[in-house]
């Protein structure tokens, strides 16, 4: 393996690992938002950090605030002068948007408001179903294991399929 290939491989591992992390954070925020919604109150502290989207793994821009996912009034996401109103996902149909975090607000403040982490799970098949072509995982290394766990725990079918694809590609490369 050439150094550049090796670098690319490590960067890929980074992307995967961050994707897993982002998924976990998103799930956690969705769970919090769900609790808040169940309580019937409105939240005030939605501060989800932007750029933590599993889909793009880009890291986003600087830290736009994100509203809470799910129900509730999302975060106020009030940046310095930015009045970014955290956009809450909608419980059942959350789109799992990446935090916009586009430093918008007014005048490009670092902490303009952004979108929520994403809403609750879409409906669909249960999260624990493992596609037929996925091996048993006995030889998984730490990244593959995290990826597998994230895919198994993911309730959004679209995102779950993406994670399984990542897993397949990672297993091919490793």
């Amino acid at each position: 393996m050439t150094p550049s290939e090796r670098m690319a491989n490590i960067d890929r591992q980074f992307d995967i690992s961050m994707g897993v992390f982002d998924g976990r954070m998103r799930d956690e925020q969705a769970a919090i938002a769900g609790q808040r919604g169940a309580r019937g109150g409105s939240g005030n502290g939605g501060n989800g950090s932007a750029g933590a989207a599993a889909e793009d793994g880009s890291g986003g821009n600087d830290s736009g605030t994100a509203g809470s996912a799910g129900e509730g009034n999302g975060g106020q996401g009030q940046g310095s002068q930015g009045q970014g109103q955290g956009q809450a996902g909608q419980g059942q149909q959350g789109q799992g948007q990446a935090g916009a975090g586009n430093a918008s607000g007014q005048g490009g403040n670092r902490s303009g408001g952004g979108g929520g982490y994403g809403g609750g799970a879409k409906g669909g098949s249960g999260p624990n179903t493992v596609p037929a072509d996925i091996p048993d995982g006995s030889d998984d290394d730490v990244v593959a294991r995290q990826l597998r766990e994230a895919a198994m725990a993911e309730t959004d079918p679209e995102l779950r399929e993406k994670l399984w694809n990542e897993y397949r590609q990672y297993k091919k490369g490793s």
């Binding site: 490590i10 992390f21 939240g43 989800g48 002068q81 007014q106 990244v143």
Partner: protein, 424 residues
């Protein structure tokens, strides 16, 4: 004979009359409380450049619970209530600062989290629904102490009377004062200072995760505990770019932890307000009973003394009769003083029960939020370890230099903003 005694002997009748009048008055004394002015935090009126916008971490406050159970009982400190308050007050302060638009992100962070631009720490000195006293310390990532100050605030009783769903916090003025003081300090800093604080935060975070790559950008004055930037990495340094991505995740973790605290504060808010309201009312009644008991005892004693003196000195029947009446009146007053003391004990017991009851209510909430945030940070720690390993591999690959497994870091690394990513 000293002067007061001679006065007493000269005009015992006046003393008796005064004592009886005071006794009568003490029975109908009421506390008069003026409404407090409602302070508001200073809002941003001009745009703050991105490079000067500081992120703030409000650490969970120090609960300051005495070890000694007797002290706790005497000071009416309930450990789980304090634990809840340590989170609740931090969240109120955070909300106040966040609402001003003067800052970047304002988050409630665990007590050991570190690498944010401005850190607010505090200790609960007293909190009972009637009075809140906090010791607040503010410093920045470069290790510079902004200030340390004690704040004291009596409750705004209008909040206790407000029957709406979410009344203003009775101690909101205190949070406002803290927020305004922090702002006042920030306004004394030059733009370059603010930019420097932000750069130090970034480099401290980077030096913690990859000391072999970033430790030389900072030096620490061990004596003062301050950090100085010695040089800056190139903006397009690939390691720095990766570091920024990790930092985004660190923020995401902190935001999630903050959300847990926010939900916790919301959940406890109603019952906490009720507890403070009842506690205030009992404390007020206890205080009144205490003062009334003391007044009655003192004046009763004075009436007895005055009556005795008058009885012995008076040559008239009326005078002697008045003296006897004063003695009986005084004795009655002393007795009623003791009755009021019993009332004090009743209020005291009532306060204890209130505290225990609220503690039982809030305890599971505290356990839950502690558990969930710990679990979250523990999970994140695994991920941060993974990123540390990958960063090391990348660095070795890029530079061709092996990294010592346990580098002797020149900069004492702080925890990343979250403790999950730290190896403090």
């Amino acid at each position: 004979m000293n002067r007061p005694m001679s006065l007493l002997c000269r005009s015992p009748f006046a003393v008796v009359v005064l004592a009886m009048a005071a006794l009568a008055l003490s029975g109908c004394m009421t506390r008069e409380t003026r409404p407090l002015p409602r302070l508001t935090a200073i809002q941003a009126s001009t745009e703050i450049p991105d490079s000067q916008l500081l992120d703030v971490g409000v650490r969970l406050l120090d609960e300051n619970v005495p070890e000694d159970e007797k002290v706790r009982e005497k000071e009416r400190i309930f450990p789980d209530v304090r634990k809840a308050e340590a989170r609740y007050f931090a969240m109120q302060l955070r909300n106040t600062m966040e609402g001003t638009g003067q800052w970047g992100q304002v988050r409630v962070i665990p007590a050991d989290a570190d690498a944010l631009d401005v850190r607010v720490s505090g200790k609960i000195l007293e909190s009972n629904g009637m009075l809140l006293r906090l010791d607040i310390k503010v410093d920045d990532s470069s290790g510079r102490l902004w200030f340390q100050k004690e704040y004291e605030q009596p409750a705004d009783t209008r909040s206790y009377k407000d029957g709406t769903g979410k009344p203003r916090d009775p101690f909101q003025n205190l949070y406002v004062k803290v927020a305004n003081d922090i702002l006042a300090h920030r306004q004394t800093l030059q733009a370059a200072d603010l930019e420097n604080i932000r750069r130090v935060s970034e480099l401290r975070f980077a030096a913690d995760l990859a000391p072999y790559a970033f430790q030389n950008y900072l030096t620490k004055d061990k004596k003062k505990g301050t950090y100085q930037i010695t040089r800056l990495p190139a903006q397009d340094d690939p390691m720095l770019v990766r570091m920024d991505r990790i930092r985004e995740r660190d923020y995401a973790l902190l935001d999630t932890v903050n959300e847990h605290y926010s939900l916790f504060a919301d959940n406890m808010s109603e019952s906490y307000t009720n507890w403070r309201r009842y506690s205030y009312s009992e404390l007020e009644a206890e205080d009144d009973a205490q003062r009334s008991a003391m007044t009655r005892k003192l004046l009763g004693a004075a009436a007895i003394v005055g009556g005795l003196v008058m009885g012995t000195q008076s040559n008239t029947y009326v005078g002697q009769a008045a003296g006897t009446a004063a003695v009986f009146g005084g004795a009655y007053a002393v007795k009623s003083g003791f009755d009021r003391s019993a009332e004090v004990k009743m209020h005291s017991e009532s306060l204890k029960q209130l505290g225990e009851s609220f503690q039982a209510e809030v305890q599971p909430m505290v356990i839950e939020v502690e558990g969930r945030t710990l679990q979250l940070r523990g999970t994140a720690e695994e991920q941060f370890q993974e990123w540390r390993r990958l960063l090391k591999e990348l660095y070795e690959n890029e530079t061709g230099l092996p990294v010592a497994t346990a580098p002797a870091a020149k900069v004492q690394p702080p925890a990343p903003a979250n403790a999950g990513g730290s190896a403090q």
